[in-house]
């Protein structure tokens, strides 16, 4: 027995179903009943009940690429804020490609408090804080561009199905866009205007995350802005 319609907004404690189903994300079972645990949109797919959250913090998972902010420096490591309940740790050996003499060098010289990095989670199991690495392709310190924050729950929508949304944005604006799983997005383009255009598009995606046909609307927004920018340049 199902008590919700597809993609209905449900609140914590909402009785979703009774009987022979399976629990998906953000759903728990007690007795014979299935309840939602967060505010979100309920979905049923192949007997599995899911609630897509509308709010929530980022929960680390091994292999995620994300954007972190250095908040503290200890002798051989950095403490990094990754917008999750736990701070992450980045050991010096996972940052430098060649070994350096930590006793002689000051880590601050390479990465200071407040600076941003693209990093990957290499271990996390809830008994220990997540550990990051910044060695690898596309990982490392962010030197230029714009970084914005969005709700972590909106990240899948910004990437789109198989990257459809993000690929369209990259192609149309010519910017490099790195979406961190924790809801921080790094945009690096040829000039400021391109970056601002991406920011505007992302804000639109964020506020309309649950509507359909969004990729097309964002596409037309970009082309419209382009025309306006082009005209301004022509006048000058």
């Amino acid at each position: 027995m199902i008590y919700f319609s597809q993609r209905q907004i449900v609140v914590p404690g909402f009785v979703l179903a009774e009987g022979n189903y399976e629990t998906g994300r953000n759903v728990y079972k007690e007795g014979n009943k299935f309840y939602a645990t967060v505010i979100g949109l309920a979905e049923l797919k192949d007997k599995i009940i899911n609630v897509i959250p509308l709010r929530g913090c980022y929960i680390p998972s091994v292999g995620d690429v994300l954007i972190g902010k250095v908040i503290d420096i200890i002798t051989t490591a950095w403490l990094v804020d990754i917008r999750s309940p736990w701070n992450a740790i980045l050991f010096a050996k996972d940052f430098f490609s060649k070994p350096i003499d930590i006793m002689k060098e000051d880590l601050r010289k390479y990465l200071d408090v407040g600076e941003l990095i693209v990093a990957k989670i290499i271990s996390f199991d809830r008994t220990k804080n997540p550990v990051l690495t910044a060695k690898g392709r596309g990982l490392g310190k962010i030197e230029k561009g714009t970084v914005i924050e969005v709700e972590p729950t909106r990240v899948p929508r910004i990437i789109g199905k198989k990257g459809s949304m993000i690929n369209m944005l990259k192609k149309e604006t010519g910017c490099q866009i790195h979406v961190g799983q924790n809801g921080r997005i790094w945009i690096s383009g040829k000039n400021r205007e391109d970056e601002f255009l991406v920011v505007e598009a992302i804000r639109k995606i964020e506020s309309e995350a649950h509507t359909t046909g969004l990729t097309n609307r964002v596409y037309s927004l970009i082309t419209k802005r382009r025309v306006v920018n082009g005209k301004e340049k022509a006048n000058i």
């Binding site: 609140v11 953000n26 709010r55 701070n87």
Partner: protein, 241 residues
């Protein structure tokens, strides 16, 4: 001088309510920008605002529990919330209510999902007119939902009192002061689990049973309002622009 009658002969209370009627309720969600989740509640003239942070790292670290997140609640009355200025320092009563609110909300939260962290709940009473702890609990559960913290159910709360020999639902200040008994109840309505049950004064066993039934009915009403507020707030977010 004879004391003012709290219940009129035709069974109406001072503000014209029936015995089992609750005051008008108003909820607002997402009222604070800097908190992870927030809610504001008006229960008649009682006004409470709640902000929630977390789950986040706990300082000092030695308070952390290895297998669950701890909940830190603060109930505080603003100096202007009552007729005579209330000194802003936490009183004995406020410290106790903080504990009571924490314990009323803790069974609803999946604390085991966030080991070694903390969830902070700050309830500020803007205007007090009875049942402030109930309003704080009801608003806090909405703020927790707004913060996206996984919960078993929302927590709804209401108080029942004995006034002039009648059991009345949703106690206001004067009834609380001059009535003979006061019983705040909080529960998870869709699961029928009681998370807070206090009682001041005297009730017979029969009266207690009746009061509890009345409180359950009241909690259900509050719960409906909570659901409605959450759904409409998030529907608006969804449909904006």
């Amino acid at each position: 001088m004879e004391r003012k009658k709290l219940i009129s002969d035709d069974g109406r209370r001072l503000d014209g309510r029936r015995l089992d009627e609750i005051r008008p309720i108003k909820f607002k969600i997402g009222v604070l920008k800097n908190a992870d989740g927030s809610a504001y509640m008006e229960l008649g003239k009682t006004k409470v605002i709640v902000g929630v942070f977390g789950p986040r790292e706990l300082h000092p670290k030695h308070l952390a529990v290895p297998d669950k997140c701890i909940i830190q609640a603060r109930y505080h009355m603003a100096p202007f919330s009552v007729k005579e200025r209330k000194p802003p320092a936490p009183t004995r009563r406020e410290i106790e209510l903080s504990k009571v609110i924490r314990e009323a909300l803790e069974p609803a939260i999946f604390v085991e999902l966030f080991p070694r962290t903390t969830i902070e709940i700050y309830a500020e009473v803007i205007q007090a007119d009875g049942s402030t702890r109930c309003a704080a609990i009801s608003a806090a559960s909405l703020a927790l939902a707004d913060a996206g913290i996984p919960m078993r159910d929302l927590v709804a709360s209401i108080a029942v009192a004995k006034v002039d020999g009648h059991l009345v639902l949703d106690v206001m200040d004067e009834e609380d002061k001059y009535g003979s008994s006061d019983m705040p109840v909080a529960m998870m309505p869709s699961k029928n689990v009681i998370t807070l049950l206090q009682m001041d004064g005297m009730l017979t066993y029969e009266e207690f049973k009746k009061s509890l039934e009345l409180a359950k009915k009241g909690c259900m009403e509050v719960y409906m309002k909570q659901k409605e507020a959450l759904e409409s707030y998030f529907k608006n977010i969804k449909e904006e622009k």
